[in-house]
Symmetry: C2
Subunit: 385 residues, 2 copies
Amino acid sequence: MKILVLGGDGYLGWPTALHLSGQGHEVAVADNFARRGYDNELGVESLVPIEPLQTRIAVWKELTGQQIGCYIGDLTDAMFAYRIITEFAPDAVVHFAEQRAAPYSMIDRSHAVYTQQNNVIGNLNLLFAIAEINPEIHLVKLGTMGEYGTPNIDIEEGWLEIEHNGRTDKMLYPKRPGSFYHLSKVHDSHNIEFACRIWNLRATDLNQGVVYGQQTPETARDERLATRFDYDAVFGTVLNRFVIQAVIGHPLTVYGTGGQTRGMIDIRDTVRCIQLACENPADRGEFRVFNQITEWMSVQQIAEAIKSASPEDVHIDYLPNPRVELAEHYYNVTHTKLIELGLQPHLLSDTLIDSLFEITKRYAHRVRPEALLPTVNWRTPTATP
Amino acid sequence: MKILVLGGDGYLGWPTALHLSGQGHEVAVADNFARRGYDNELGVESLVPIEPLQTRIAVWKELTGQQIGCYIGDLTDAMFAYRIITEFAPDAVVHFAEQRAAPYSMIDRSHAVYTQQNNVIGNLNLLFAIAEINPEIHLVKLGTMGEYGTPNIDIEEGWLEIEHNGRTDKMLYPKRPGSFYHLSKVHDSHNIEFACRIWNLRATDLNQGVVYGQQTPETARDERLATRFDYDAVFGTVLNRFVIQAVIGHPLTVYGTGGQTRGMIDIRDTVRCIQLACENPADRGEFRVFNQITEWMSVQQIAEAIKSASPEDVHIDYLPNPRVELAEHYYNVTHTKLIELGLQPHLLSDTLIDSLFEITKRYAHRVRPEALLPTVNWRTPTATP
């Protein structure tokens, strides 16, 4: 099928594009290079060097003979959104093209506004483009497990059967997220559910856990196909960041007690989940939600796993938590729908951690250590940082 | 106390400012005149002529000796938001300053984007300004009963005790609204709840029903104090529109079967509810939700009430529903919190309808009848109308 990957130059968008192309789909990517721009702003780079998008695409063509289409532009520009849906005429659109870091959205007022503006308006333009040009197109939208927050009841897949005063209804699962970024995804989910209801669109909202890992079989074929690997306190996800801290001999920075628990997923499972969602589309009018995780761990457990896998001596530092979140809480997540479609999870194992240690060692000289420490504080509202 | 009314030139913002001033509070209004601009765009005017804001304020001063402060600007301009919070230094901010019409938000892509951008970003700027300048300020935010949609269970006041798999939590009431406008208010509610959680702000979210009526004791003191009275299919709320149709001898336009049920409130109760919310602030850190309605009726019942109150013969036309909504549904709303604070509801009675007939007859010559018919269709996504 024809699949358009929005945000196809990013950490997960690029491996997803390769995986879908490798599986025989006709793929195009679109990107505005916002993610590379954040690097310039924050003064950090991917630990692993990455090639320009055009080079990546050329290398993939050279290795496989497969051509990946390429659109450069911004979804908040409605003309661009309409143009790519018209020109590429996809069967499915995989939408990664959003600002994705909670700390980035909490830097100050303008970063909060930018995040919600960019994510919500880009997604709205996309919904209108799909609805007006071809409502058969399946929207596969990246959400986040962080949308749910940490309720004291089981987290279901997007919908919840509620009984109240003797009556029942199937309702959208109540969300209580923990950053302006996570809120932007909640706003998107509400907008998408409405679009499915009024325009009979088909959509899958993938509430993804924290992704770890850096390689998929496709990106590993050539180092020029590598995807980014972020270690900084703004864009680096927790497990990846801990590995880098272990390798360069820094203490692992656990926020608070480390009791906070997060759903996790291996990058190889992420690309497979996207494939499964695309190949098994939602029905017309259906707003379908999958919890895209394979297991969950507390931050403390993640730190212990990295510590025990490390050949060197590793210390754990407990920093005051810059975020506002529960230190200890109930966490139990239903995540059966992707398994039912055929996902075979890679659970966190020493094997994977070992491979991450290797990659990290190779590029350890590129780390800017001060970027590992959190500087964004949830409790301090500021007009400027 | 010092109360800043944002959107203080609008249908409800202006009577609220007068009411609060009349009750002895020190009031300032802020407005960007967007509502007067929509009139220009849509080619309609308030049925009742309204004076410029500066004239209104001067007349109030002349009649009562009370000075209402006046700021002209736009909340999406962060500098403006910060300036008014700094300069006026309010104890409470009443936030009406949002695009408020569901049909307007459904005209086309650009109106949907404008509505969410304007409402969400303006509200975000306000949250940052309050949090950074003075987190003691009580935010009184206008939401809408339309945020809830029409669930098959009782609608509670913003929060819901949920039992699931033997565990319980008090969660935000799940929302499933019916337009991009209503969605913008859901987004606001989520953003405000988060701001209360991380910055310890105090906020009251008023989920208001459909407002009817045009006069309060304060606006009735001088015709130059009149507030707007909208009859068009975009901004005219259902009861007001039916009265005008009855007076000019047009059939009442019921969408679909008229079985759809809506919470309602008299304009005199609206201004009193705002007063009660301001004078009884939420606690620091509290996100408090009141359902600001006094009764509910189906659209058919509203049409029948207008028909029976009309001295002339009135016909009812059943038009295909331009909206996507349930024609028949359960509707039962908890609305006790404002009563507990002292609200004494004016229920819909012939008395009020009579007074509306009088006002309407006086200005019937100003009606542009073609503006009464719906032209915005929920089912048709368009880039341009």
